[in-house]
Symmetry: C2
Subunit: 744 residues, 2 copies
């Protein structure tokens, strides 16, 4: 099961796309249309094409390019990838640095107050700073909001991650560079305006999201695979190579920055290495006897993961109803969650009993300074609070504590259990509020505490360290919730640097994903479904083989003549919202009606704007083409595209003619109306189409029967037209299964 969008919507940052911020932050959406598009029917923003509109104009432009121009074009693509990698890694590093310093400072101040037994004051500082940081989200707009918002949200002790916002940030940077800046912010770079087709920009966005993932987890290979497995619907080997290049830049820049930090100039960021949660251990030994607990851990992890998805889906639906009511409600919701989180986090450690510091501890006990395994909290000297050690840390440090080796007796059963339950529910209620939120880190924290708990239960029956159980637990929970395989595997490897554990990690991923798939879809699918984003599965449903294209195509169809009256064009554009129109040549121009091709709405509007009209219906001369430059037809930063309503025409102009031929894609993909729907879907999906023309099998009628778009392939639409069809037997099984969750 893949969560890829089809054609139009690929390369989208799902994690960010699904934050309920989208509708409230139109400005961000607009400036980064390529990232946050949701199809023309849901939202007026048009997605980018994969298909190249091969019209005469395009061909002429291509022919006229000299060697130098092609060289410049190729060079530019690589340069942009380099820039994306550089910028994203800088942002990612800055993000990390800011979180560690802001959240760290908060914990240092609070801890000092706790040491001085000023508990009330500590709570006040803790909760107020959390509230202020949470509200930081509302202070800024556009791309910057993502960066600042993510920093303050993560710093505010909300259980949200930074991977999602970083992926989105990467995609935004790529989209901005790809379209040569943003008109809205008066930031445009002429030398960047070289990409005249959507495909190049789409590729850049994919590279950008790979770079974002790479920067968030310092996992360059994982980033490429994440983009491959979860992002792009249409993958080319050239793209693999290009995104590898981008993430390599990220890896190298990050490595250099970390090198810089080793000299101690990064404040509380400390001396972190390239590996975020290094649990390398030269002597990972495990035997056949360890397989059984690991299998159980994987299976229960899968169940927990699917339960997590189920609950998150429900909560998001409730939140979106609250958020719809207005900004005040949004702020109130965010504040409520922030205060609730503060109370919970500050209150819970009091439940844990104080532990005596171990005599052979490898680090200072109680912990001095910001991060460490032995937080003192309210405990007497020489003791530590194990629950506080998990809670009063940034998420990264909590994970590090849970993953740490040779700490088998450091945590108590109740503390780990309380922490697991807290994380599980807190991350669910934190995700939906109006903050740039990722899911990866919360899922890892929750999974790690779950795994550690299992490790403690298994105890001496296993050879594995509890820290390694925590790693496996995180893997099982990730697989249970996100359902990725190869990319998760590589990301976990790059996060933990433990290659010897690979066979067990693969086992856990397999079991957990298989179990979870029996209950519901992955988290991205569920949320996209809740948001109503039209999104095509990669695979075909069995009933599609029993239908033909003719069974689903709808009329009435709007067509243009090859040389069409301006008045007709304006009328059609004003009365429909289709994005593509068939162009047909009829008897005066050809012997019998012939399908010439497909023209895009945006291109027609461009023609109307330039008013290249003719008084009589004759073909336009090639000179007329010089009126246009290829740049005129490249898609704008969306939302800025012209609308038909904005154009004014005199009555005289309305009676004139427009020759659409040179601007019509004369090579559209077509299927016959007797084609099986399943095969048409494969074509649509694999080639990355937005419009698929349907021609009649028996000639003699109109040369085109209709146009298929993504919506015509949606199971909901098809089953609406043909209610007697059942969905796939497997699907039905799947749909019935989650009922056990309805008990909750």
């Amino acid at each position: 099961m893949s969560t890829n969008f089809t054609n139009g919507e690929a390369n989208t940052d799902h994690e960010s796309l699904i934050t309920p911020l989208l509708s409230s932050r139109r400005s961000l959406v607009n400036s980064t249309s390529q990232v946050a598009i949701v199809g023309a029917h849901v939202c007026p923003i048009e997605s980018l094409d994969y298909e190249i509109a091969e019209n005469d104009f395009f061909k002429q432009d291509w022919r006229s390019r000299g060697k130098m121009q092609i060289f410049q074009y190729v060079l530019m693509k690589w340069l942009l990838c380099f820039l994306i990698g550089l910028i994203v890694s800088l942002i990612g590093f800055f993000n990390n640095l800011a979180v560690e310093n802001i959240a760290g400072m908060k914990f240092v101040v609070t801890s000092n107050m706790m040491l001085a037994k000023r508990y009330g004051m500590a709570f006040l500082v803790f909760s107020v700073s959390n509230l202020i940081l949470t509200l930081g989200i509302f202070s800024l707009r556009t791309l910057v909001i993502k960066i600042i918002g993510s920093i303050t949200a993560v710093s505010s002790s909300l259980l949200v991650g930074k991977a999602g916002p970083m992926v989105h940030t990467g995609a935004c940077v790529a989209a901005l560079l790809g379209q040569g800046g943003s008109k809205r912010f008066k930031l445009t770079w002429r030398w960047l305006r070289i990409f005249k087709n959507d495909r190049d920009r789409r590729d850049l966005v994919t590279c950008g999201s790979a770079a974002g993932m790479a920067a968030a987890f310092r996992a360059p290979v994982g980033g490429v695979l994440f983009a491959l497995e979860e992002m792009a619907s249409w993958w080319r080997s050239a793209l693999l190579w290009r995104s590898f290049f981008t993430t390599a830049v990220v890896a190298i820049v990050l490595r250099a920055l970390i090198d810089f930090c080793l000299s101690g100039k990064c404040g509380l960021f400390g001396k972190g290495g390239l590996i975020m949660f290094d649990v390398y251990s030269a002597s990972v030994t495990y035997h056949l006897i360890d397989v059984l607990p690991v299998l159980t851990l994987g299976a229960i992890g899968g169940i927990l993961g699917s339960l997590y998805n189920f609950l998150l889906d429900k909560v998001l639906r409730i939140y979106s109803r609250i958020n719809e009511k207005g900004v005040v409600y949004k702020i109130l919701l965010a504040c409520a969650i922030s205060i609730f989180t503060s109370c919970l986090l500050f209150g819970l450690p009091w439940l844990a009993s104080c532990q005596r510091c171990p005599s052979d501890a490898s680090e200072a006990c109680p912990t001095i300074g910001r991060s460490g395994n032995f937080k003192k909290f309210q405990c007497p000297p020489g003791h530590y609070n194990d629950l506080a050690s998990l809670i009063f840390n940034t998420n990264d440090d909590s994970v590090r504590n849970l993953f740490s080796k040779n700490t088998n007796f450091e945590f108590q059963y109740p503390s780990i259990l309380i922490f697991f339950v807290t994380c599980f529910f807190l991350s669910i209620i934190s995700f939906g509020i109006v903050a740039p939120a990722g899911l990866f880190i919360p899922v890892i924290v929750t999974g790690a505490s779950y795994g550690r708990f299992v490790g403690m239960l298994v105890g001496s029956h296993s050879n594995l360290d509890h820290g390694l159980y925590a790693v496996l637990g995180a893997a099982s929970f990730l697989a249970g919730s996100m359902r990725m395989t190869v990319s998760l595997c590589v990301i976990i490897l790059e996060l933990t640097n433990n290659l010897l554990l690979l066979p067990l990690i693969m086992l856990v991923l397999l079991v957990s994903k298989t179990v979870a798939d029996a209950f519901n879809s992955n988290i991205y699918d569920l949320i996209m479904n809740a948001k109503g984003f039209p999104y095509l599965e990669t695979h075909t449903e069995p009933y599609m083989r029993q239908l033909t294209v003719g069974d689903v195509v709808r009329g009435p169809l709007q067509v243009f003549q090859g040389i069409e009256k301006v008045g007709n064009i304006v009328h059609v554009l004003s009365t429909t919202n289709h994005n593509g129109f068939p162009v047909i040549d009829e008897p005066p121009l050809s012997e019998s009606p012939v399908l010439y091709g497909l023209i895009l709405r945006a291109h027609v509007i461009e023609l109307l704007k330039k008013k290249a009209f003719m008084p009589t219906p004759v073909p336009i001369g090639t000179d007329a083409l010089n009126l246009f430059s290829a740049g005129d037809f490249s898609k704008r930063g969306s939302g800025n595209g012209d609308k038909i309503e904005d154009l004014q025409f005199t009555e005289e102009e309305m009676e004139m003619f427009l020759d659409l031929h040179p601007f019509t894609n004369a090579s559209p993909y077509t299927v016959v109306d007797s084609m099986s729907l399943a095969k048409a879907l494969i074509l649509f999906r694999e080639v990355g189409l937005r419009h698929l023309m349907v021609t009649p099998k028996i000639s003699g009628r109109s040369p085109v029967v209709g146009i298929l778009t993504r919506h015509d392939f949606m199971p909901g639409h098809i089953l609406g037209l043909h209610p007697m069809l059942t969905r796939s037997r497997w699907k039905r099984l799947r749909i019935r299964a989650p009922r056990i969750f309805k008990l909750f």
Copy 2:
């Protein structure tokens, strides 16, 4: 640049496919057709389809399947993947075990003789055992040859690798299981005969080759990515998940077997861990100053890699001319190479001066037993021969020695240089002989010695250990020769367990691939080109945008009527070698001539065989379908397919009729003849077609103009038809570049 075959030929084991063994070992080829297919025009073996032939018969069969049958089908797929993983990992492990024991025993015996100063005797034993092992290749046939042949070839000190044969073995196992055994060897399993379409088998073959790679290098994730990047031309997310499952089985089984070996029961295999060349070092430190030498290393590695490709191509062309002359020549060539190798390997260490054993050596000096860094060879006590330490070891041990840490002063300049030059040329001349040979290990050995040499040159100007330079050198040479990115990166990580080196490895891969791409294609492309295998690039050439489909489609076209006379069918099948035919309904059956669909030659032959003829041209009843089972139409283990010449018909039968409708794929993909060639190629490539029907734009003529196959898209064919077209400007640059190599 990807080296994927198109549609027909995907999932092929390139490394093995390109060994010159193919034609001489038809039996192997036949039993594993899916692996070693090269397109019907080069070789009479038909490739597997991706496209599902959606005919009435297929649909009826699909509809009639009950829940249990579907469940059984799905379960079976997973079970087979499990079996493939299990079998391949067992073979891989056995392979490894045998090589280590056979080659190890050889080295032990020879070393003992050397210790006793019986130098002549040692050489005799060494060279004769090598010769016998080399000749072992000729002793057996079929799948077994690959396994035994690979073991003896690698053991015989020939500089060949085991990855290629393992990939091929994996693919063979998968193909055998997928087709339910082999008729030829009377090994057929009825319960396996569940896969009725080619696509499932193709997927299994992909899983098998991923498993082979995983087993060869104990690199499960690398195996999946290798299959993704280098093998499959058509990738589905379901396939990613399935191949991940298969390699996970491999990883787990291998881990268990290694666990078993730790108890010392595996002879000379020793106590190897899961990581083949573990160079983990907690404190890999490098700074900006190290980047310059690493960049240089990458760039020179790229040049060396492309030079390697160039020379290997030339040598293979010479060898194939020798091998064509007959079996005697093949044996003579293999013997000559074996004896030459023996002399060289035995003679070269005498050139190296003896080194005094370091006082602080971490292991015994001189080496006792089989493997180690300090081989005594002819040296006096307390001394070692550094060149012998590299040469008198299995390839794996040589790599381990080169990668080993804290051994900066162990090797001398001349020894490393001699070893590098020897490996470079020896691996080139060893690859083409009639032995199952892989390229990975030879390239790694050569690259590692190159890297180590660079490390020694840079000396104290760098912070990096010479062992790490060897890793980087291997990476640069791999990238320069094979040109993969992500999969190479992961394979190197899994081989060496050094995640901290990742940024530098990525840098080296980038630089080396970029430099090498400026000179020539990757090794697989060059060899496939030399062999004349028709293979379609993923990308389109710019000139294809200037052509239409009509410009390349050829006639005359053979078509069948929907209800056709048996005599006509037999005549057409006998006089053409097309694999697919359009089926047309003409006026008695429809108003005007209409394209009904496409029927495959194999299916027509099956119909003729069953003699489901009718005396008059009327549609066949649905009862008649019961004559056939879906299994009749699934492709045989190729080469066993029936031929039209083998069928006999009476004159009466020749006058009868056959209703082709229920067996015709009624949903073939079509393009209009005015479609741009580039777009038709994208459709062909992305959907995975073998036949693409061309329909006329202007109706009224025949409903089909022709059929495009892979060959019609080959640049050679197109440029032959339209010589005035230039190839891509970039291609031209590339073609001109290798001229600098002509100097050699």
